[in-house]
Symmetry: D2
Subunit: 309 residues, 4 copies
């Protein structure tokens, strides 16, 4: 599939002149140390192709992209029962807003805002120590990516734990409504570690491939989730994956996607490919600036938008 | 395509036992007079097929579904400049919420909530009398559906004008921020008439076909909008088409859609078909109860979800 | 009581150098025409004294100060039953906020924000034509001030009617919740006229004297309201009289007061005096800049603060 | 002053039949153990009188009433500079609302809602260990009441620390905006202890006497604060002392007051008296049900309302 490689190369080359644009997240001090000129792309197709460009092999902090994996894990454990704990509507708010929580009795709008992801992590923690839960999440992501060397960046995890006051507030707020089963500090211990997972674009694209292939990892043949569940996770990514920039992403890119404040975005082209991009500079919505543009160009050139050719 | 007809018939038959469920909208008095047992379906495929079931030929009040058509009209006239007047993010709120307007300087979140549609109608009104603008909208919908007998139900329009206090509030609120170019009563005069358009499922499915076919009506060959614009309208329908039930619709049905309080829903399966359903009883989100279920079943059986087979 | 006259003169002289500071309200076009250098003060004591300074005899648009008079009128007609229609808590919001209305089912927080005053006017209108209701309000204010030449400034009333979109929004919003008995345009017709009442500081101070004297006008001996009701109106003025600047006014001045966007403030020193000040330039909270300072100085020098000597 | 004692006795006797009404706070488990039939009153007059009734000598948890004392302490240390950290407007919200904080950059509306009191405690903590700060607060309250046996109820403090998730959320939320100088857990350590101060009605009435006497404790002659500051603290108590029931309290009682969830209320009649009441059952606003009624009756019979005789 040389055409696709050419497209990826061309997009990377075109946007490379703009490397360094956007603002690197600095509220987690470790993230502020990343080289703002990094820019990687990886496209994993359902037929086994892998197309890389730039810094596609370099691990970065996946941050909120991890929410897709813990949601998948929680759905596997508890099925649709998780929706008692978290909604599935776009929030219309920033990733860390607490207003909606107060108005809606401590139930987060969706699993992709911070509060919602913390609620999901609370479910994953059930019956485990935090250390075990972190281990389970790491193993699950390794299984999805079929790679054994994916690890948590402990310096990032510590950095988040030291300054994640807003997340502490969100967790305690939910706890005050009786919406967490475990002490906030335990849930957040796991949450900060899952966010600190370090993965390369290549690994991330492989880990998301099951969502592009009706729930089954086409490389290793494992059924991760059912057809319907894969579709539904994709739907959530499309409506809620970019906080209050979700509508914009759907409008411009037209693919289910989930961004992280580390500058990564995972996007899914159902039936076609799983795509990961990484560039640390963020746009005004807190999503990777070059990454969003790269995905917009890729969707335009491949016709992969879910909204029509 | 006998299979598709069989699917449509079966869905209609299955759900017919539940006709009358849900709550018929009564805040517009004329709508309260509709027979709650009505239930129609129409599936227009891009290759020219038309599959009907039940009351598919009976006109009903399309209400907010009209917002798709006026958005298309305004995009044709002003292009992307319309986004200075209205956003494109899900609101996370009810169709008629005014809170977000106050917080965001009178700019509605998207063109599918009432405030946003009123802002779009204000654009359509430019250079026209209200009567002319209504005429233009009616002609545009007739052109899309390729049917000359689509009309405004004047009794419904009058009924809305008599009791649409919330919409009067929204329009005057935007006007107080300088966000409407015309007097609120003129804009609302047009708005209430566009909402009062009466169309059958068959007509509605035909009128939406250009969105399923990359912007071109496949029956008559007219290019209504460009490829990109068709995709983008679909994206807006998916993220914003059902107010604070948009995430739920994406999760369950997985198709771009726009509902109306009259009990109709227009859904688009890109590359496949345009679908219209009608049943007056509404669910708790204000969307047609049977209509939503019918679309969920249709998407499941056809594999038309945009989020994967 | 020469001392008091000296205090009033001195305050007026001291602040006169700052005449013209602040921003004259311009959202009602007629108000923007007022000379920003105007500055009047009037102190009417319960023992019959009247102390004037500056432009104390010149009528100005009392605007929201009228809300005190219509509240008193409505309490006289309906008693405590009015509290089914309006609350009595500070709103914590701007004078024209609509957010609280949506969250609380269309019931305004208190009778001194615009929405609350419109709800009160709706009550005053009961059984009347708008013209009659306006007549009743004018007669009531004349009775309070014991002056026959108080009139509505028709140019101001027309100006408000032409541009008061926010008030139209508020009224229709309440109407959509079924919280107004009369059509919004009739209620607003009365409301805009009551706001357009033109009174001098002297007239205003006299009209407010019953509130300083336990409900009885000490000049003419008329009992306007009971002891308890006078106290309660004063309480409302103190907690809610200056919108989201009410706490600040209580903190600095320490007297029940009600401001108007025309630059007037009526303040009450229970047992002592009724005070009216006027200077068109407004501070950031929309209250008269010099007027607030004058009252702060007056309260400090007289020891009239209700919160202690 | 036998009359006043007779009034106090009569009010206590009249309301005693209703002891047990209202809902005892249970979110702090220790508070739930209090006998709901307790009912005490203490009126300390500026001329040295003390009038007790019922359980006036029994210590109870003063909870939020402590906010008056820490505000006074912080004003003494930092003067008006504290207003950079906290506003002085009524919030229009519940005691523990977080919504306003998000909208206003982490600055609490006033020092009497929880977030504001936590911000004040953060100031009191400066230069101290938590233990020292608690010691300073206890000493200050002992000095105000001129009693050495006032202590913190350690069981209540522990109980709050174990379950005060909402306060943990508020503190961390402010910290995320950079509005706290110290770690949230240290500030809350002090805050939970100040709330757990146990005082009798008699002690509390004595401790509040300086506010009734222009800043000077009339019993021991100590000037606690200046005239102006005493007035201003009273103003804040009147506009903000009862959360979203502040308007109601001003309307019914007409005295500056501060309630606590333990069922106590401290009220100030400037120039007259300091009043403390205690009854654990709370009304729908979270203020003592019998206590509010007792104060309403007392103000009516004594004519002490600040809003007129």
């Amino acid at each position: 599939m040389t055409d696709l490689q050419a497209i990826v190369d061309d997009i990377h080359a075109t946007l490379s002149t703009r490397r360094g644009e956007g603002r690197v997240a600095d509220y987690i001090s470790q993230l502020a140390h990343v080289d703002p000129k990094k820019f990687g792309m990886a496209v994993a197709t359902v037929d086994g192709g892998m197309h890389l460009a730039g810094d596609a092999e370099e691990p970065f902090s996946i941050q909120s992209i991890s929410k897709v994996f813990t949601l998948t894990l929680a759905l596997g454990k508890y099925g649709e029962a998780i929706w008692k704990r978290v909604g599935r509507e776009p929030s219309g708010s920033a990733f860390n807003s607490i207003v909606q929580l107060e108005h809606e009795g401590g139930i987060p709008r969706n699993p992709f805002i911070n509060a919602g992801a913390i609620a999901i992590t609370d479910l994953v923690l059930a019956g485990h120590t935090p250390k075990e839960a972190i281990g389970e999440i790491v193993r699950f992501v390794r299984y999805l990516a079929d790679e054994d060397d994916i690890v948590v960046d402990q310096a990032v995890a510590r950095s988040e734990q030291a300054t994640g006051f807003r997340n502490v507030a969100l967790a305690n707020f939910m706890r005050s409504f009786g919406r967490l089963d475990h002490p906030a500090e335990l849930v957040l211990g796991v949450y900060f570690h899952q966010c600190a997972l370090a993965m390369s674009c290549r690994q991330l694209a492989r880990a998301g491939l099951f969502l592009a292939n009706s729930g089954t990892n086409p490389l290793i043949g494992h059924r991760v989730v059912s057809h319907m569940r894969a579709r539904r996770i994709n739907a959530l990514m499309l409506t809620c994956g970019h906080y209050d920039g979700s509508g914009e992403f759907a409008y411009r890119v037209g693919l289910p996607g989930k961004s992280g404040v580390g500058g990564g975005i995972l996007a899914v082209a159902p039936g076609k490919a799983s795509v990961a991009v990484w560039s640390p500079g963020l746009n005004e919505n807190g999503n990777s600036l070059l990454g969003s543009l790269a995905l917009e160009m890729l969707a335009a050139r491949t016709g992969w938008s879910v909204f029509g050719a």
